[in-house]
């Protein structure tokens, strides 16, 4: 009898034993529905402001976009009519892409070194990577602003990119590190056994296996950068990103075009997430079938 069979047997015996003296099964009737119902309601609650934002991107707004005046596609068709919205969006895209690329490259290198090599000051380096994540954004923003001020660096796109790369870096390290730790070392050993040089083993085995983790880290970095307001506001000077545009527009009323951009980004991000999830699910199924066949 294998261990699994023993466990399964044990479980059936156990359930038979315990169910008999326990009459109040009806009590679970309510319990059975309580949790699913709560979960659905909780998710609906989480979606309320998202639905609200998307709905108001179709509002026939005049100056401010507060009360509902009727349905229109005009905001979607003339996104750039509102001065500033598209410039801010373009800045955010540029900053997001540059910060993501730099943070992903630097972070992946650190993650590989941390998992694969032993060196002194390892603990100190881990702490140095953890600390930015434990620092409130307002402290990080003020610190960078104080540094740029005392160094005489003018605030602008460059300072925003430097700041965004910083807070993305730690998240990349953590995400990629988790992926490396879950790699099966046997695959690399097989590569070495087949006389692969270290470089070949890295680029043809390790890197492709790490790629999903690296892409996930890049996606996370971009969304962190794109939506960051607090650190950006301290270091942006006169440059407007999409969040700082919304913050400054909040006093006089947000144009519906801002809702259009936010909604479009949201739908695109959800599409990417759902596609990757379906893809990885079908890959997992294919792999499972392949291993069964073997």
């Amino acid at each position: 009898m294998s261990a699994q069979e023993a466990l399964a047997l044990g479980r059936t015996v156990a359930t038979e034993n315990t169910l008999a003296p326990k009459p109040p099964r009806a009590r679970f009737g309510l319990g059975r529905w309580l949790l699913p119902t709560y979960s659905v309601l909780a998710l609906v609650f989480l979606l309320i402001p998202i639905v609200y934002t998307i709905a108001f991107s179709f509002n026939q707004s005049v100056k401010s976009n507060i009360s509902w005046r009727g349905f229109t596609f005009n905001n979607w068709l003339n996104v750039c009519d509102q001065p500033g919205v598209c410039t801010a969006f373009g800045n955010s895209m540029l900053i997001g892409v540059v910060a993501t690329v730099v943070a992903t490259v630097l972070g992946t290198m650190i993650a590989i070194a941390l998992v694969r090599y032993r060196f002194r000051l390892r603990g100190a380096i881990s702490l140095l990577i953890f600390l930015p994540m434990a620092t409130p954004e307002v402290v990080m923003g003020a610190g960078l602003a104080a540094q740029f001020l005392s160094a005489g660096v003018p605030k602008g796109i460059g300072t925003i990119i430097a700041a965004h790369t910083l807070f993305c870096l730690s998240f990349v390290v953590v995400t990629v590190k988790a992926r490396i730790a879950s790699l099966d070392p046997a695959l690399e050993e097989a590569g070495r056994d087949l006389y692969g040089s270290p470089a070949q083993v890295f680029w043809r085995i390790t890197f492709p296996l790490l790629l999903p983790g690296i892409l996930a880290a890049a996606l996370l970095s971009f969304s962190l950068s794109f939506d960051d307001f607090i650190i950006t506001y301290f270091n942006s000077g006169s440059v407007q990103t999409f969040p700082t545009y919304i913050y400054t527009a909040a006093t006089r009323g947000i144009p519906a075009q801002a809702n259009v951009i936010a909604s479009a980004v949201f739908l695109l991000a959800i599409a990417i997430v759902v596609t990757t999830q379906i893809a990885s699910e079908s890959r997992r199924k294919r792999l499972a079938r392949a291993t069964e066949a073997v």
Partner: protein
């Protein structure tokens, strides 16, 4: 976790030490970046906090060793400092109470249906993908005096005719809770997803009721998720100034530390006060975090 701890050193020990030059090459650029843009700014924050106003150039500050700023800001802003941590604590507790059942359902009950699990997970992180500020503004509109929530609560006499929701501490704590729920939910889900249900069955077999099982088995096993979720909620909530700012959900009676730092730094250009407050915020958070992590006994957050 014990297995990971055992496996960790043995795998790395195989890595030959002579390759440490490669490690250096891999580490150096990133570490240099962190030192330049994290350590150095922190030092300049400390230096700034000790500066005194220049006597010759108005609006400039001279390097000094002026501890008085710290005493002044603590005296002047003690209400906001206490309020920040109180609001952050409330938001963390509410987010935990809200998220735990949801994460439990997705991670444990929905295991049989991977597609449903995936879909629910996407919905939990969905708020991440729409602008944080617009989300908060949407709540401001929904909870505004003209909105149906306020009219409904007034009809039910929960709110008096002159009462508001926006601009009150209730709205700020509500906004903080809402905005950080995904940060709470995801780590909870990650640990609950790995929860071995056979432990729950074993507990049931040993005549523990559902409540005892939950308290003695489920909660201890999901403790790492609870710890990282509460930290991921508490830290940003304590430093947040968007929810509490008067253009969003807050008002004059709900100003937090972040608002004070922001206005001192960017509006009043009183850099030493803003820097001193930042250092105080950071120090309190580090003390709370390290005490909390030590008490809950999960050291490997990374």
């Amino acid at each position: 976790m014990a297995i990971a701890a055992l496996a960790g050193p043995t795998v790395t020990q195989e890595a030959p030490r002579k390759k440490s030059r490669i490690a250096l090459v891999l580490l150096l650029p990133g570490i240099f970046y962190l030192v330049l843009f994290f350590i150095v700014p922190f030092i300049s924050l400390v230096i700034t906090s000790l500066q005194v106003p220049s006597e010759t150039n108005f609006g400039q500050f001279d390097t000094a060793f002026n501890w008085q700023t710290y005493v002044d800001v603590v005296g002047q802003y003690s209400t906001q400092i206490l309020r920040s941590f109180f609001f952050a604590l409330l938001a963390t507790v509410f987010a935990l109470l809200f998220s735990y059942p949801l994460a439990y359902f997705i991670g444990v009950k929905a295991r049989r249906w991977p597609l449903l699990q995936g879909l629910m997970l996407v919905l939990v992180i969905a708020p991440f993908f729409i602008s944080f500020l617009l989300r908060t503004l949407a709540w401001k509109q929904i909870l505004s005096d003209e909105g149906f929530v306020v009219s409904a609560l007034k009809a039910l006499s929960v709110l008096g005719p002159q009462d508001h929701i926006t601009g009150t501490p209730v709205a700020v704590v509500f906004g903080l809770t809402y905005n950080f729920i995904p940060f709470m939910c995801l780590p909870l889900y990650t640990t609950l997803e790995r929860l071995d249900v056979r432990y729950l069955e074993a507990s049931n077999d040993l005549y523990a009721g559902p409540f005892a099982t939950f308290r003695k088995v489920t909660i201890p096993l999901s403790l790492p998720g609870i710890v990282s979720g509460t930290l991921l909620t508490f830290i940003p909530a304590a430093g947040d100034y968007v929810n509490a700012s008067s253009e969003f959900l807050g008002g004059s009676s709900s100003t937090m530390m972040g608002n004070v730092i922001q206005s001192n730094f960017l509006v009043q250009l009183n850099y030493p006060a803003a820097a001193a407050l930042s250092i105080i915020l950071m120090a309190i958070i580090l003390v709370i975090v390290s005490a909390y992590v030590r008490r809950s006994g999960t050291d490997d957050l990374l």
